[in-house]
């Protein structure tokens, strides 16, 4: 099953939203729709679900139009689940009745409701009203409710945005396994890098109404900062856990070994984020230094803007360094040169991953 989307929508005070994408719905995967607020992520999600009508374009499922011209399959016939930012639970119904809302009456209904309530960790709360639940519990009910009718696709609109940090963290850790157990492909809207890093199989970066990048999260997030001066530009790569040494985690990345602070927990794979300003360069491997990680690499690109230079390296994985233009001239750096990248362990952040990501 393939969902092909090419839509336009213009709001009076917003950007022109112009998005084209294709989603594979046959098997479980999480696509993260990432971008700043107001860039059109939620509108795109609403158009997919049928809650919002595009001005032009089309949405097709295996070639059969959901939207095209005047033809518009209403939301209730698309079988697309939607988890709203603040849950949007029916306040007059119990937890169980909320979860059962999208299910046809019958003997299978009670069992399905019980399964889902257990799966999202709310067993025992079936008879509570939404007003008697915490924010995190409410969002779990919303998730169970949307999953209950076994939608073809599940859309999640910033599901953690309204939660406090511990509740958001807890749900984020469980979300992937819940969705995987149900085998339902999902699109998750977020403006949080960590959501994208820990949950996404695929990432669409959106800005000002357009999809600018489409790839794996580590590809999209590497060196994504919009301008050179902006702090927070990162290199992101997939890493395998090798072991521990002196309290640090040892990871294998593209053939190179890296030491990084241990975020704790059991995992075999992780995404690592290396802050560009935490990477220094030297011509040859020198003597002992306080930096733990010395990675040989080749310069593949050099971008000088004012006092700062962005140097892109191939160290077996793409790595980016933000250095001063002065240092760049001092070391006589040019594209193709072999250098050593010195990466402070503290400039590395490790985001643990599920087995299959």
């Amino acid at each position: 099953m393939n969902l092909t989307v090419d839509v336009q929508r213009q709001f009076r005070k917003g950007p022109l939203i112009e998005a084209a994408l294709e989603l594979e719905l046959k098997r479980f995967s999480i696509t993260v729709l990432f971008g700043p607020s107001g860039c059109g992520k939620t509108t795109l999600l609403r158009m997919l679900s049928g809650l919002e009508r595009p001005d032009a374009g089309f949405i097709r499922l295996d070639g059969v139009p959901w939207f095209q011209g005047r033809h518009d399959v209403p939301a209730q016939e698309r079988r697309v689940g939607f988890v709203f930012q603040e849950g949007a639970l029916f306040p007059h119904l119990s937890v169980a009745a909320n979860v059962a809302f999208g299910l046809d009456p019958g003997p299978a209904r009670a069992e399905r409701v019980a399964t889902l309530i257990r799966r999202v960790g709310l067993a025992g709360l079936e008879h509570r009203r939404p007003s008697e639940l915490s924010g995190g519990q409410r969002q779990r009910v919303a998730l169970a409710r949307a999953l209950a009718p076994r939608p073809r696709l599940l859309l999640l609109d910033e599901p953690f945005a309204s939660l406090d940090r511990p509740a958001a963290e807890q749900l984020r850790q469980e979300l992937r396994s819940i969705l995987k157990a149900e085998g339902i492909p999902a699109v998750l809207v977020t403006h949080d890098r960590d959501d994208a890093l820990s949950l996404g199989d695929r990432m669409l970066r959106m800005d000002a109404g357009r999809i600018l990048q489409d790839g794996r999260p580590e590809e999209v997030l590497t060196g994504f900062a919009a301008n050179l001066e902006e702090a927070g530009s990162e290199s992101v790569a997939l890493a395998r856990r090798v072991g521990r040494k002196e309290g640090l985690l040892c990871l294998e990345v593209g053939g190179a070994l890296l030491y990084a602070p241990d975020p704790g927990g059991e995992f075999r794979q992780a995404r690592i984020c290396i802050r560009s300003e935490g990477v220094a360069l030297e011509r040859r491997e020198g003597g002992p230094a306080s930096t733990r990680n010395h990675l040989p690499g080749r310069i593949v690109d050099l971008e000088i803007r004012g006092a700062l230079a962005r140097v892109r390296l191939d160290c077996g994985f793409p790595l980016e360094a933000l250095v001063t233009t002065w240092a760049c001239h001092d070391l006589k750096l040019t594209v193709g040169d072999q250098v050593t990248a010195l990466v402070k362990a503290t400039a590395i952040r490790v985001v643990p991953l599920d087995e299959d990501a």
Binding site: A88, F90, H92, A146
Partner: protein
């Protein structure tokens, strides 16, 4: 009038209660059906329909009564159909009175209900749609249950107004003791006959009733704003 005036015109009181109660029971299905397109619909002529349904709020009751009399009369098509079906007339009968009460009370019933429906969080209606429910099902299972206070307020207001209506009732129903003489018409009669003690009692019953009704709707509104 009897030489000994009864303490209260009990048959008028009973008729008023019966009339108002029947009108509310009929208003429930009619009003709930009409409130849906008015609260959520987008169609041509919606504003005109709203204005027409709200007319009884501003129109002098006698004007409304006059037109209803024309419309219900034995020479009107509705009157003739009624005559054929029931072998009776609509005017000067309880049925005619009931129909008139229903029409004039429609805005009292609809206004709070539509306001309540309008304040239901739109995302709840959208959530219902993404869970496979069509508009009708969403209305009955989400919007209406969440608007129960507006529904109750509308029913109470319509009931109270039905209890006290004078002009339309007099025009359409006349003043037939036990059949169309309601409490407010009995009060008019009592004043005409200088039975001031009886008039005081009748007026006091209507006054107390009106106050209790407003008190209960105000309480409902305060609860829903909380």
């Amino acid at each position: 009038m009897n030489p000994v005036t009864p303490w209260m015109d009990w048959s008028a009181l009973a008729l008023s209660v019966r009339l108002a109660l029947s009108a509310v029971l009929l208003l429930l299905p009619v009003g709930i059906t009409l409130a849906w397109p008015l609260a959520y619909g987008r169609f041509r002529g919606k504003v005109a329909l709203e204005a027409a349904l709200l007319m009884p709020l501003v129109l002098p009751p006698t004007v409304l009564g006059f037109y209803l009399l024309q419309f219900f009369g034995p020479r009107s098509s509705l009157g003739r159909v009624w005559d054929l079906l029931t072998d009776g007339t609509l005017v000067f009968s309880f049925s005619g009175l009931l129909l008139a009460t229903l029409l004039i009370n429609l805005p009292f019933f609809l206004q709070p209900l539509i306001a309540s429906l309008g304040s239901v969080d739109k995302r709840l209606l959208e959530a219902s749609a993404t869970l496979g429910h069509g508009r009708m099902s969403t209305y009955l299972r989400v919007a209406l249950p969440l608007s129960w206070r507006g529904l109750l307020a509308g029913a109470i207001l319509a009931f109270a107004h039905g209890m006290g209506e004078f002009g339309v009732v007099l025009m359409v129903g006349g003043n037939l003791p036990g059949r169309t003489r309601t409490l407010s018409i009995a009060l008019f009669d009592q004043v005409q006959a200088f039975e001031m003690a009886a008039a005081h009692r009748t007026a006091f019953v209507l006054l107390t009733f009106a106050f209790l009704v407003l008190l209960s709707t105000a309480w409902l509104r305060a609860r829903s704003n909380r």
